[in-house]
């Protein structure tokens, strides 16, 4: 007889809380970078500084919105894992990963093209622009690595550890998607 003497209540696992801690820390990271962006903006008579063109609306916003939609399949994957439906869990993660990798491919090319036009070292505006955008892409890369690792684990079946991992990684993607929207919103504010 172990814990049978006490009734058990349902509660979110420690793994989820651990991921929430990571999300809190990274949220402050992004908040500091976004605050830096507006700090520079408020101190500059002209924005963007040095006659640099503000970011394009469509090519900045649309990929971000596509990425944000991947929160839906990731959350569905978490629900499916909790219900023990392995095939659906894998399918949802793969579906999300296709969009996420497509986003990364497009954005990495776009990032390089923008740098060819005007360098990160041009002025403070380009310094914070490319750092903020690069940090966001870096977090999407980390998310993709999480998802590849999860798929590898799920190839061996479902258990409590992998169910918790699916939930935690789904929440990471919610954070990464919201961060992307916040970053894109910040960068596009230069058009206002």
């Amino acid at each position: 007889m172990t814990a049978a003497a006490f009734p058990r209540r349902p509660s979110l696992p420690a793994a989820w809380w651990g991921m929430v801690m990571l999300i809190c820390s990274e949220t402050v990271l992004f908040a500091c970078m976004i605050a830096t962006y507006f700090y520079f903006r408020f101190r500059s008579p002209i924005w963007p500084q040095g006659g640099v063109s503000p970011p394009e609306l469509i090519s900045t916003l649309v990929p971000a919105l596509c990425l944000a939609t991947t929160s839906v399949p990731m959350q569905l994957a978490a629900f499916a894992a909790r219900a023990g439906r392995l095939a659906w869990t894998r399918l949802y993660v793969v579906a999300a990963l296709i969009v996420q990798c497509g986003y990364l491919g497009f954005e990495i090319r776009d990032y390089n093209n923008q740098q060819n036009a005007v360098d990160i070292t041009h002025n403070a505006y380009t310094s914070i622009y490319f750092t903020l955008l690069g940090a966001d892409h870096g977090h999407v890369v980390i998310g993709a690595l999480f998802s590849f690792w999860l798929l590898w684990k799920l190839s061996k079946g479902l258990n409590r550890y992998r169910t918790n991992a699916t939930l935690a990684i789904a929440w990471y993607w919610h954070f990464a998607n919201l961060a992307t929207l916040a970053v894109v919103g910040t960068l596009l504010s230069a058009r206002v």
Partner: protein
């Protein structure tokens, strides 16, 4: 009062005041930065109006949070053992006590910021 209502009031009272203080503090300083720097030539922010509105609203929200905590204290006044009784009611009363103190402090800070913003010349260097 029902347990579910007490729970909602307790968590609201505990977090709402602090959250709104943090937002008002950050936004308030942000308004100063925006109003007292070159970009304000474009924005045209009236410092006193914006700060007054922000801090007054924040003060109202903190008062609501404090009211929630006081309601919980009232609703658990007959709990034998007080905050040392069995959970969850003892935990609810405990956090209402802590929130009642915290919200008074947050309100004080918000009011000090309100008066400081209104009664100082905008953007004069310290």
């Amino acid at each position: 009062m029902k347990l579910r209502h007490l729970e909602i009031l307790q968590w609201g009272g505990l977090f709402l005041g602090g959250a709104i203080f943090a937002c008002a503090h950050v936004l308030g300083y942000g308004i100063v930065l925006a109003a007292c720097n070159p970009a304000n030539a474009t924005f045209g922010i009236d410092h006193h109006v914006w700060e007054g509105a922000l801090m007054a609203s924040a003060a109202v929200v903190v008062l609501i949070a404090e009211a929630a905590s006081v309601l919980v204290l009232y609703g658990t006044r007959d709990l034998a053992g007080g905050y040392e009784a069995e959970p969850p009611l003892s935990r609810i009363r405990y956090f209402a006590i802590t929130a009642a103190l915290a919200n008074v402090l947050f309100l004080s800070i918000v009011l000090l910021e309100l008066f400081g913003s209104l009664f100082n010349v905008a953007c004069r260097q310290a």
